[in-house]
């Protein structure tokens, strides 16, 4: 069973999915607390536009994916703040806009490139050392940003208005958080694919949310759920010969379901007796 660890491609795949699970679970805490799940999905689909453009032009698709992800995040924010369009409307519009561009770019390609399938559904087995280095670098950047701005993001997530009134540069912080989410998504596309990356962003953090009332603990539990999902998902995909992206997300969803059912938050507060309204 564990002889599969002898293969270089498997070692890289496990390490890569570990890194992706880590960074998704950290950023996922903010995605869940600020209700950015739809935004995450929108950015993921927007990255597909970037990937297809990269294939069409013969450029590294991860690079064009980042451009599209950041650009779409910026446009959504622009629409929301300047044109005062509702957030979910803005996301819906730019999401479909970039998907339409993706379909256009595919139509302009001479022939179907099977590697596109890998970007849609995940191709962690094809991870090269170069991919791994890039993933590790981005994981470090995102984690460092979260660590440095830990208290600022905490205040931002809890009460944005009060944070601004207290002197924190909330528009800047909010934009920075959005950019970190976009970067995380692009990095994770290789592992789980564009269609599933939003779930890897949400499920581990949502699991942690069910299980704890402490902010710091939420990060730890989210990380645990993320890493367990990724590693066990990879092993399961090998045993059962099923796609790795799917098995990772199925494990993550199972963990969430268990947490939701056995959640201590669903019972009245032991200390203060408060009934949870929602």
């Amino acid at each position: 069973m564990f002889d599969l660890l002898h293969y270089g491609f498997m070692q890289r795949a496990l390490l890569g999915s570990f890194l992706v699970g880590t960074v998704c679970s950290f950023i996922g805490v903010y995605v869940v607390l600020r209700g950015m799940a739809f935004m995450g999905d929108g950015i993921a689909h927007a990255s597909f536009g970037g990937v297809t453009l990269g294939f069409l032009l013969g450029i590294n698709p991860l690079f064009t994916a980042i451009v599209f992800a950041l650009g779409t995040a910026g446009l959504i924010q622009f629409a929301q703040r300047r044109a005062r369009i509702r957030l979910d409307t803005a996301i819906g519009i730019f999401f479909s806009f970039t998907m339409a561009l993706a379909i256009l770019f595919i139509g302009l390609m001479r022939s179907y490139d099977a590697r596109l399938y890998g970007y849609l559904f995940g191709n962690v087995l094809g991870m090269s050392s170069g991919n791994l280095v890039l993933t590790a670098a981005l994981a470090v950047v995102v984690t460092a940003a979260i660590a440095l701005l830990f208290k600022e993001f905490k205040f931002l997530a809890f009460d944005e208005e009060a944070a601004r009134a207290a002197g924190l540069p909330t528009p800047l912080l909010s934009t920075l958080l959005l950019l970190l989410v976009a970067l995380t998504i692009v990095v994770s596309i290789k592992a789980v694919g564009i269609i599933l990356v939003a779930s890897l962003l949400v499920a581990p953090a949502a699991t942690a949310y069910q299980l704890t009332n402490r902010f710091g603990t939420m990060f730890f539990l989210s990380w645990l759920a993320g890493v367990v999902s990724c590693l066990s998902g990879m092993f399961i995909s090998y045993w059962l010969n099923i796609p790795s992206g799917a098995s990772i997300v199925l494990v993550a969803t199972l963990l969430f379901a268990l947490a939701a059912v056995f959640s201590p938050k669903r019972r009245p507060c032991k200390v203060c007796g408060a009934e949870i309204a929602k």
Binding site: L149, K151, F155, A166, G167, L168, C269
Partner: protein
């Protein structure tokens, strides 16, 4: 009260005025927020801002914070531009209930008040944490410090917001309708708490409310606001029937009850 609560003056207030408005107008795309408002608040004064709903009271506070920009006029706060003064202002916003599932404790929320002043890369140290704990004691929340913030009652959440605002060691305290959404018994204790804090800390305080009786007996100055300034001055100047009737556009009766004046506005709940 211990020394931890005394704010350290970080800005030299040159003119002795904490807040100064000169002909300030604030407009929004759809409505007018404030129209030609002028007022002065001296350091250490208590200003009650009274006005009906939608009269621009919140806009006034936001303008002081630099969150709303005046189309006309000048605003000076603590001797400088509002945005610069922001980290020396404690703001207690109009309370919206906390998300009961958000994973922060009461202490966490109070500590957040220090983040603006600390800046990036500096974490709160033991001194800051001790000070915040003292604030929680002062507002009567010390025994629930490790509870989930969202589990507190309305009155308790309001006190927490006050503690958070004071955590920044501000030189100016702004309170926006601190008794809204709070049960009647707690309302009184909250107002007493605020007046007590003002008394002990000599902190310049602006309290915004739609109910004039909340701020009786009157302290220092009163401002009647309904987009424009209807009256601004000391209690003696302003607290009389004629001025009040002009503000409320209704017959007004001032009654003495246990040595305290009480305003009754006929056929309209204030």
């Amino acid at each position: 009260m211990n020394n931890q609560l005394t704010p350290e003056p970080a800005i030299m207030v040159k003119t002795g005025l904490a807040v100064q408005f000169r002909n300030v107008s604030v407009t929004f795309p759809e409505t007018v927020g404030l129209e030609d408002v002028s007022l002065d608040v001296a350091t250490g004064e208590f200003l009650a801002v009274i006005g009906p709903n939608g009269s621009g009271k919140t806009t006034l506070l936001r303008t002081i914070l630099g969150l709303a920009n005046p189309a006309r006029g000048t605003v000076t706060v603590l001797g400088t531009h509002p945005a610069q003064a922001r980290r020396h202002i404690g703001y207690v916003p109009q309370r919206t209930p906390f998300d009961p599932k958000f994973p922060v404790s009461v202490f966490d929320v109070a500590l957040m008040g220090t983040y603006g002043a600390l800046g990036i890369l500096h974490a709160p140290d033991q001194r800051d944490k001790g000070r915040v704990m003292g604030l929680l004691e002062a507002v009567g929340l010390a025994d629930v410090a490790s509870h989930v913030a969202g589990h507190l009652s309305g009155g308790q959440q309001q006190r927490l917001l006050i503690a958070r605002a004071l955590a920044a060691q501000p030189q100016l305290l702004l309170l926006d309708e601190p008794t809204s959404g709070v049960d009647v018994a707690s309302q009184k204790s909250i107002i007493e708490l605020i007046r007590g804090l003002h008394d002990k800390l000599k902190l310049t305080t602006l309290l915004v409310t739609h109910d004039i009786n909340e701020v009786m007996p009157c302290l220092d100055k009163v401002l009647y606001l309904n987009r424009r300034v209807y009256a601004f001055g000391t209690c003696q100047d302003v607290l009389n029937r004629e001025t009040l009737e002009k503000l409320y556009q209704s017959p007004v009766l001032i009654v003495e009850q246990e040595g305290r004046p009480y305003v009754i506005v006929s056929d309209r709940h204030v």
